[in-house]
């Protein structure tokens, strides 16, 4: 039996399953229940205890920079999720314009997000990079640590992350400080999920490599870029038609330059390649 036949067997056997009327009613009832009702279903003693704890642990006001980042994140416009309006090069340039520094942010394809665009926030002058997938968006704000000092928050050291976490409603912010710069990641995700993304982005930043592929003709640069972007581990691709070149930034933990070239050779795209310095 081949894979297609197995797939059909699975879909025919499992695809048409129906909830019982009772199961369906229970699930719909749960979906209509408001979160506060779920809390209210606890025992009265627990409610009292929760009330007392709430008073004792009443959250302190968030730092202004965090409030502003949450606001900026909500306002950040994503028209077509997954369709980038800026190239990686433009994102880098805009970060440089806003911060005065060469800062490379990796793509977040491993975490399911694509890098869409960057701009400078008018309100704060910070760089704001927007990522999105088909149902959610993620922001990274970059600014000098002494410009907007951050206090309070919850340390993520116990989770093995040198960062601080802030929450407001369903939004989470994770601030990671390094070399006088703060990267503030904001998304409608759980803290551990966002922290994992932020940490991976930091680790990846030091490992990303760039390879320059030189094609024999300018005509293949477009299909070449599309093929390379489909390879797992490739972060972004920049094409320079005048030089018949494509710069490929990739995560060497997941793919090598030789493998990228081999994939292209399978599609009859012959290229020569050379490594660039590791990006910082």
């Amino acid at each position: 039996m081949n894979d297609e036949e197995l797939k059909r067997l699975l879909q025919n056997s499992l695809g048409g399953r129906r909830l019982t009327d009772r199961g369906r009613a229970r699930l719909l009832a749960r979906l209509h229940r408001r979160p506060w009702l779920r809390l209210a279903s606890g025992a009265a003693a627990a409610a009292l205890l929760a009330g007392a704890l709430t008073l004792a642990l009443r959250p302190r006001p968030l730092p202004a920079a965090i409030e502003s980042a949450f606001r900026g994140h909500e306002l950040g416009k994503v028209d077509k999720h997954g369709v980038a309006s800026d190239t990686a090069k433009e994102v880098r340039q805009k970060i440089k314009d806003a911060t005065g520094r060469e800062i490379q942010l990796p793509g977040l394809r491993d975490a399911g997000f694509g890098q869409l665009e960057a701009h400078c926030c008018l309100e704060t002058g910070t760089a704001h990079v927007i990522y999105a997938n088909s149902w959610n968006k993620l922001s990274c704000f970059i600014f000098e640590a002494d410009k907007f000092p951050l206090g309070g928050g919850e340390s993520l050291r116990d989770a093995g992350v040198d960062g601080t976490c802030y929450r407001k409603g369903s939004l989470t912010a994770v601030a990671v400080k390094e070399g006088g710069i703060i990267k503030l990641w904001v998304a409608d995700l759980r803290p551990e999920q966002l922290a994992a993304i932020a940490v991976d982005a930091e680790q990846k930043r030091y490992q990303l490599k760039t390879t320059v592929l030189t094609a024999t003709s300018e005509a293949i640069l477009k299909p070449l870029a599309a093929t390379v972007m489909g390879i797992s581990g490739v972060e972004d691709v920049e094409t320079e038609p005048s030089k018949k070149q494509t710069n490929v930034r990739f995560d060497p933990r997941r793919v090598t330059a030789e493998e990228i070239v081999a994939v292209l050779a399978l599609s009859d795209m012959d290229v020569s390649w050379r490594d660039e310095d590791v990006n910082r």
Binding site: M1, L14, R18, G112, S134, W135
Partner: protein
């Protein structure tokens, strides 16, 4: 309110598929209900980003997978994963399912075979083979590298074929005896 109604109408149409995908991935009815509830809340919050005319079920399935991965990570912290490599040794000694074996499979065999897969392979198979996501979409939703999803789908399929062959052989021999 209209958007909410629109979301709920679509959700009701795909509630069964979402619930059973959650059940297959998590292996527990309680966890499955929690997953569907969290997925619905996330979907409603993000419904503005859903493009009308595109596949709502696939969109929700990606949110479900992303919600499931939190549960998976929590479980892994409590109980490390069992070895996924067992199938390699099985494949050396056992034969996979053939088309001719299918008539000896009982209705519950497919569900039982799926339940027997390691959790990671089960999640990959449920998303890709049962619910039609591409490997790339599953990789993005689960936050796993594409190569990992490819390998889990491959191993899961191989194990399913071996286990179902075993089930079919068992039913065939019982049939001959009776």
């Amino acid at each position: 309110m209209r958007r909410r109604d629109e979301f709920e109408t679509l959700l009701r149409q795909h509630l069964d598929a979402l619930y059973f995908a959650a059940l297959d991935m998590s292996g527990s009815p309680g966890d499955a209900e929690d997953l569907v509830q969290d997925t619905a809340m996330k979907g409603l919050r993000r419904f503005d980003s859903f493009q009308a005319g595109t596949d709502f079920k696939a969109w929700m399935m990606r949110i479900l997978a992303n919600t499931y991965i939190d549960l998976y990570r929590r479980r892994r912290r409590e109980k490390p994963a069992a070895a996924e490599d067992a199938v390699e040794s099985l494949a050396e000694t056992e034969s996979p399912l053939r088309r001719a074996d299918m008539e000896f499979l009982l209705p519950d065999d497919v569900v039982r075979a799926l339940e027997g897969l390691p959790e990671e392979q089960r999640a990959a198979i449920v998303l890709v083979d049962v619910n039609g996501l591409t490997n790339q979409e599953a990789a993005e939703a689960l936050g796993w590298p594409l190569g990992t999803v490819n390998s889990r789908v491959y191993r899961g399929r191989m194990q399913l074929k071996i286990v179902m062959r075993r089930m079919a052989d068992e039913h065939r021999s019982l049939g001959k005896k009776s």
